[in-house]
Symmetry: C2
Subunit: 505 residues, 2 copies
């Protein structure tokens, strides 16, 4: 038996000392393979290196392998006239998803989808490009100021969506009476914003949304928070890592009403209040004054907003208002759903979108290092702002950025490697077709196969198998194939055997 | 026992004649439910109708339920100042995906992903918005003319990607030596085009791409076609429905070389030739002449392009060129992969992208009713056009539009209904919390639950269960819950029983 390169002798990949039937002298030495036509003029290559890969096979202008016949020797076709190096980075603020990042994204999105499925929600999607008018609101939200908008070639004002909710509202109005309420819809979609200033922030993120339309009761909000809690638990996040601050826009409304603040200021006041803890309190006061609030109203407002206890709030607002009743019902339901430890009342939570009307909530990390992880609330009046009939509604948005930061912080990022069931490799060039047959057979049985498409040294094949965390290596060699058999090596155990192709499962 | 509404007596939903322990008089008559606070002033509603849903719960300005305390009765908050009806349709040429369309999209994409997994490919993605420069080529492709490009707010020229391959090339150049070749990558991404003319064509579609980088041999193209064949078979499409026309750009190259046509015309000539059978032949001739080809060259070219037999092609081009060798190898491999019946040589296939250099192929419906279903080929010189080192490469694009048309034609569109394991419903308003507990318990076991979030008549619940194709209805009624039990009804069989909550699986 021929000796094996020592590099093959790591525990995962090493051969046993049983007769090494698979690898005859002729099949283990790559330089002895019948050399394929395309490789005749090839320089030695290093296939772990992009730069050193050369492409003689198809650009052999004037080489010996291309000549003859009417065709003559050909130069490479000139597919483009420009050869200056492009910027290889994705546009500012955007991301590529190479395989390792895509595996994490898929892992995250699969949890979004699986939780949504557990809650009986149906998936929907909308165009990433919408008419700008859909996002124009006058409340001065950050999301509005940062709209990624432009004029299309037909001079229409369009925007890359900054959020999904307006599209949902548009679709619901469009579908009208054909919808069966309550709707329980979810979506995972890319959202965009445009910032002129460079703050190192991304211009796109993906957002998981769940929305319930047609349920006026707080059970809907309770259900939504339950789904987020379920998601957190599935990915290893506990109530000691994150919590939800909950309040109601009705708290603010009730305070503003006491001071006879005109109702059309409500949205703007909420937008300012959402900046508390993000900008200095004096700035908050100045902005509130600018909306037209009296000093007295501002002081009262800020006092109420500092309340973290529902009992205290009730003392101030009285027990008969909707704000208190909604919040009490929510906390009662939280107990029944089993997530009491996750939620707390916090009057300062108002969320930054103008359209919320009732309960609002946001997920936060208890160490206080990160921005809000997710947020949502009730928006019973959104549809009428688009000219439709209102339907009671609530929902949340959950981005893909902060949660990944949190998982990193907590050491909870999953290890997600490539996983392939089989590597199939021909040991002789003229067995490439047989290897294709073997691969087809395995794939037909639902097994994934990374088929080695070129003549490669066995060492290379093992390296590839290790990288792909392959379970089996299937080797097609001349000696075995003459008996209609192929060699199988179980890579975890080192077990190896020959088997008839027909019996390969 | 109370009589049941006759509408419940359809085969799927009807009760057996066993004692109907679940539904006591008080729990079946909805008007006898304790009426929740929010519903006090509600009009009767029809929840299958959006328009008739009214939202008294949160807009009860001045109603009896909102009064008292400091809050007083509140008017709805003014979340927006504009109320004109927006255009409820998605922007021209784009699509919404309501649940039924999303199910079809997911079904299709899952097949794309599952086939890619079977072939050992890794998923990747790139920004839908790229620098315009990435797509600027001078060959006059349709894809270039229809670029959905614009200037962003920072005056940068950007474009919604018309295809995925340039982004792949960009990322591969960026990653450089860190990549292990061959790469086998796939992506499913949305691509955009902009047409000024209204041809009823969509401006966006999704495209499945599979690409192999680092393999100069035709085994790569053979593997790609095998994956598409695998996809077709999985969705019920056979070789009698579709086929692949295969040729090589090298055929054209060899002909052009005979007539001393400058190599920098190659891309342009290919773009013109791709229009054969799409525009009149005289127009083709005129366009070819415009590129600078002689009449003689044009006639010879068109003659060669009409060839549908590899043997005939070999007679004309001679047997020594790469075109013939590549094609022969591909047909030989097709046999080993098991898809010989699917492919045929057709010299007229050149594909409409400038960057192809070798084998090109396209999937077509054998009835000839539809545009190409998918297409691809070898593009060994693309990376150098971006200033990178070339790597041998091939790939294909497979859109989500034509395949759905084909499935419709063939009556092969799957029936994809909503599927929920359980509907959980409280029969009394004050059991809503218990229903939440039941739902949480089932979800914890991986069961999907559509939790009824309001007090609803039983008839409504059954309708909802039928719509969701629910397996079980779990009813939480007072009588049973006093014993710590809930009622279960298996909707397919009509079987029903009481069970302790702890024993519910």
């Amino acid at each position: 038996m021929p000796p094996f390169p020592s590099s093959l002798l790591n525990p995962r990949l090493s051969f046993s000392l049983k007769p090494l039937f698979l690898f005859t002298q002729s099949s283990i030495a790559p330089q002895q393979f019948p050399v394929p036509r395309q490789l005749i003029s090839a320089k030695p290559r290093n296939f772990s290196s992009v730069a050193s890969v050369q492409t003689s096979a198809t650009d052999n202008g004037g080489s010996s392998s291309g000549g003859g016949g009417r065709s003559g020797a050909l130069s490479p076709p000139p597919v483009a006239e420009e050869f200056q190096r492009i910027d290889v980075n994705p546009p500012k603020g955007t991301r590529d998803f190479p395989p390792e990042d895509m595996r994490l994204r898929n892992w995250l999105f699969n949890h979004f989808r699986e939780v949504s499925r557990l809650f009986g929600f149906e998936e929907v999607d909308y165009p990433v490009l919408e008419s700008e008018a859909l996002f124009i609101r006058k409340a001065g939200e950050e999301i509005r100021d940062q709209l990624y908008c432009f004029e299309d070639r037909g001079n229409r004002r369009v925007a890359l969506r900054p959020e999904l909710t307006p599209s949902l509202a548009r679709l619901v109005i469009q579908k009208g009476k054909s919808l069966s309420l309550p709707l329980k819809w979810f979506a995972v979609g890319q959202c965009w914003r445009y910032e002129r200033m460079t703050r190192g922030r991304r211009r796109e993120h993906y957002q998981w949304n769940m929305d319930i339309l047609g349920v006026p009761e707080v059970t809907a909000e309770a259900e939504l928070i339950s789904s987020i809690v379920t998601f957190f638990k599935r990915i290893g996040i506990s109530e000691s890592d994150v919590g939800f601050k909950v309040s109601s826009r009705k708290v603010l409304q009730e305070v503003l009403r006491c001071y006879s603040v005109p109702e059309n200021l409500f949205g703007k006041v909420c937008i300012v209040i959402d900046k508390i803890e993000k900008i200095p309190i004096d700035e908050i006061k100045r902005e509130l004054k600018a909306t037209g609030l009296s000093e007295e109203a501002i002081e009262e407002l800020l006092q109420v907003l500092s309340i973290k206890s529902l009992t205290k709030l009730e003392e101030i607002l009285g027990g008969a208002g909707e704000a208190i009743a909604d919040l009490k019902q929510l906390f009662s339901l939280a107990e029944k759903f089993g997530y009491s430890e996750w939620i707390q009342f916090d009057a300062s939570v108002v969320r930054g979108l103008a359209y919320y009307t009732g309960i609002v909530f946001e997920g936060f990390d208890r160490e206080g290092k990160l921005r809000a992880i997710c947020g949502g609330g009730r928006y019973d009046r959104l549809l009428s702002t688009f000219g439709g009939d209102d339907i009671p509604a609530c929902g949340f948005g959950f981005g893909d950025a902060v949660i990944v930061e949190l998982l990193k912080e907590k050491g909870l990022l999953p290890e997600l490697g490539l996983e392939v069931d089989n590597i199939v490799c021909a040991l002789d060039y003229d067995l490439q077709g047989v290897a294709a047959t073997v691969a087809t057979k395995l794939r037909g049985k639902g097994q994934s196969v990374d088929l080695v498409l070129e003549s490669k040294p066995l060492k290379w094949v093992f390296k590839r198998a290790a990288r792909a965390n392959a379970e089996r290596l299937i080797l097609v060699g001349n000696t075995e194939w003459q008996k209609g058999m192929v060699g199988v090596k179980i890579l975890s155990s080192g077990e190896q055997y020959e088997i008839k192709l027909d019996e390969l499962e």
